[in-house]
């Protein structure tokens, strides 16, 4: 179980002990239930969809902040049904391993699957195991339910032929000269999920997401009803998307960066389309929604700008580092925090599968690169063997000291990127609530050990 957020899981954990039927009974009273699962983007997609539904004044059950196991879900349901006005809808992110059980308990009206990447292999097992778990959940859905699925992920697409399930697909269109992924960059999927023949890609957007077809058995990308294209944007901090549905098209502004966030917005808009929400209304809610804490949201500390982004698997780390490297500031610093507690995944070898070539190429643009956490040295090695010069890498195991080191390395107003694994993300939330936002002398004293 994920540790550290007792307030968001404890009431549910107790309730499940004394009344295991409680979530089902609470769920029965909720008119519309939406479950969101998949490896990356659950939290952000759920937040966007909640924002869309709240526009209509709907009272929602929503498990914020990644409390996505049955205890956290039950807590969110208890809170929502005891509130006035009574809860009308539920938007719940669900851990992949818990998805099947939650599906049969709550009997959702809509189930959304974002993507499958390798993630914490010691917890989830191999990606194909996770796909099988989610398939079992979809098979348990009531007949009238609809699945909203990512057409660009062949592993998600392999869920399509689940018996009798209605699916709404979303996916990307290549836009002009897209920066496509080099063919040799690491990918979790190179073979057809149906027949194991090599998959052929017409376009690869990132990792194994793209336009693919199996020349051997004919398995290919389903044609999406909700199709999204990146539109040019003048801003460094946002995305513009052209969204096309059978009921019309719209330009959508997304106040965050990175293709993975474009997918999150596409997923939320596809779910909104499935719920018959007018596209322009869904689009305006998405435009106004700032990222959740830990999903590349900006904050301030000690007079510096701080951007906190959770990293937990190779693809996510590569996506986040791409955003960091594209920041044109000449004064930026980055803190990579790697821990191996149960919540982080005990195995840290995944960092070797992340594509970090962009960091190597841009290493001169950092004022400081700090590695932190119990396994800071492993992250240091990852950078060293990736080609980052060792005298650019500072090691500071303690998180607060690492933030201090980064802060002292950059001038006031400069950006610092903090990229922690899960356990440190929870610690950061309370640390950042305590530290002064304006310029001040920090509590730190030590300097980093250098290699």
């Amino acid at each position: 179980m994920r540790t550290g957020h007792r307030a968001t899981t404890l009431p549910g954990a107790i309730a499940l002990r004394v009344a295991p039927r409680l979530p089902a009974e609470l769920g029965d009273g909720i008119a519309s239930k939406i479950l969101i699962t998949g490896t990356n983007g659950k939290t952000t997609t759920a937040a966007l969809l909640a924002a869309i539904l709240k526009q209509f004044g709907r009272s929602l059950a929503h498990n914020r902040g990644g409390a996505n196991l049955p205890s956290g879900i039950t807590t969110a349901l208890i809170e929502a049904v005891t509130r006035k006005p009574a809860c009308e809808a539920a938007v719940l992110e669900v851990d992949e391993a818990a998805f099947a059980a939650v599906c049969s308990t709550l009997r959702p009206h809509l189930a959304l699957v974002t993507n499958f990447f390798r993630d914490q292999l010691d917890r989830y097992g191999e990606p194909s195991t996770t796909v099988a778990l989610v398939r079992r959940g979809l098979q348990a859905l009531p007949e009238a339910s609809i699945a909203v699925l990512n057409a660009d992920d062949p592993l998600v697409a392999s869920l399509g032929p689940v018996m009798g399930l209605r699916a709404v697909w979303f996916g990307f269109e290549p836009s002009g000269p897209v920066a496509t992924t080099p063919d040799d960059s690491p990918s979790d999927v190179t073979r057809c999920p149906c027949c194991q023949a090599p998959l052929h890609y017409h376009h690869r957007f990132y990792a194994h997401l793209g336009w693919y077809v199996c020349p051997s058995c004919g398995f290919g990308r389903p044609v999406p009803q909700v199709s999204v294209q990146r539109a040019p944007t003048g801003s460094q901090q946002s995305l513009r998307l052209r969204v096309t549905t059978p009921r019309g098209a719209a330009l959508v502004h997304v106040p965050s960066r990175g293709l993975h966030n474009a997918y999150n917005a596409a997923a939320a808009l596809a779910a909104a389309y499935t719920c018959s929400i007018p596209l322009h209304q869904a689009a305006s809610a998405v435009s106004n929604e700032e990222p959740e804490f830990g999903r590349m949201r900006w904050t301030a500390a000690y007079g510096r700008r701080l951007c906190v982004g959770l990293v937990k698997n190779p693809v996510g780390l590569g996506q986040v580092m791409q955003i960091v490297v594209e920041d044109p500031s000449p004064d930026k610093a980055v803190v990579l925090f790697l821990a191996d507690r149960a919540a982080d995944g005990r195995d840290v070898s995944w960092i070797w599968d992340a594509d970090l070539s962009m960091v190597t190429a841009a290493q001169g643009s950092f004022r400081r690169i700090v590695v932190s956490g119990q396994r800071a040295l492993e992250m240091g090695l990852r950078l060293k063997y990736g080609g980052v010069e060792t005298d650019r890498i500072s090691v500071q195991r303690d998180l607060l000291q690492a933030i201090g080191l980064a802060t002292r390395s950059v001038p006031p107003g400069a950006p610092i990127y903090l990229l922690p694994t899960y356990s440190a993300l929870l610690a950061l939330q309370s640390i950042l609530a305590r530290v002064p936002r304006g310029e001040a002398v920090g509590p730190w004293r030590t300097s980093a050990s250098r290699f």
């Binding site: 390798r118 292999l121 010691d122 191999e126 990606p127 194909s128 690491p186 990918s187 979790d188 190179t190 073979r191 194991q196 090599p198 191996d340 005990r346 195995d347 840290v348 070898s349 995944w350 960092i351 070797w352 599968d353 119990q374 396994r375 800071a376 040295l377 492993e378 240091g380 090695l381 990852r382 060293k384 063997y385 990736g386 080609g387 060792t390 890498i393 090691v395 290699f451």
Partner: protein, 242 residues
């Protein structure tokens, strides 16, 4: 030392299939540790249906998902004789996890089905439902290189034939089967092991592989220049405490 002539050829087998557990790290470590000494390398890759890269001077195989392993096992049979011949001639080979299991004589699946391995090493693997997962430290008694650290995550339990030499004795963790405290296997210069994230934080093992390859090619007088490995050893010690 004059290594400038020809790049050292490092073969990475099935990089598209046995790629789930960060074992790319091993190829990266060999390439970089050679490069830092001014020794050029070239990485060759070969996957299903490709010819075997016979000119390879070091071979690396990683671990992958069960489905991928079945595909690789069917293909690897084509290379059995070549591999046996090359390993007998002293080719250094490193196989991790799934790759290690496939080099053995037999793999017994969860349903009791027996899959014949290529028999390159004297090891037999039987699937068990409870996975061995966690950090491992072993004392390498096969080579004079002290401790080896890494992360294991496997369902198979591997048993070595009598007389086969394990890579090391488990100080912390499960290793081959969680029963006899053995981990991995070493046969001539061919190493099988369950440990992921291996060579970067075990620089002595990386250098052993490089040295074997270079001496095989350039003669026994070859030595390796010492590198600044403080970060590597600090990471090694951090993994021992983990």
């Amino acid at each position: 030392m004059a290594h400038e002539r020809e790049p050292l050829l490092i073969a990475h087998l099935y990089p598209d299939l046995l790629n789930t557990y960060g074992d790319r790290a091993n190829v990266l470590a060999l390439v970089q540790r050679a490069a830092w000494r001014g020794i050029p390398t070239r990485t060759l890759t070969a996957t299903v249906d490709d010819p075997f890269p016979r000119e390879a001077e070091i071979v690396c195989i990683g671990g992958g998902e069960d489905g991928s392993q079945v595909v690789v096992s069917a293909d690897l049979v084509r290379h059995r004789d070549t591999l046996q011949e090359l390993v007998a001639e002293g080719l250094p080979l490193l196989a991790v996890c799934g790759g290690y299991q496939l080099l053995g004589t037999e793999y017994v699946t969860g349903s009791g089905r027996s899959i014949r391995g290529i028999g390159l090493v004297e090891a037999r693997t039987v699937w068990e439902s409870r996975r061995s997962v966690g950090n491992v430290t072993l004392c390498c008694n096969a080579l004079p290189i002290g401790t080896i650290v890494g992360f294991e995550n496997h369902g198979g339990r591997t048993y070595l034939s009598p007389g086969a030499q394990p890579l090391g004795r488990v100080l912390h963790g499960k290793g081959n089967n969680g029963r006899d405290r053995s981990e991995g296997i070493i046969q001539n210069h061919c190493i099988g092991t369950y440990l992921h994230g291996l060579l970067p934080k075990n620089p002595q093992l990386a250098d052993w592989l490089l040295l074997v390859a270079l001496r095989r090619r350039d003669g026994p007088q070859v030595t390796l220049q010492t590198l600044d490995d403080r970060l590597e050893w600090a990471a090694h010690r951090a993994a021992m405490r983990a």
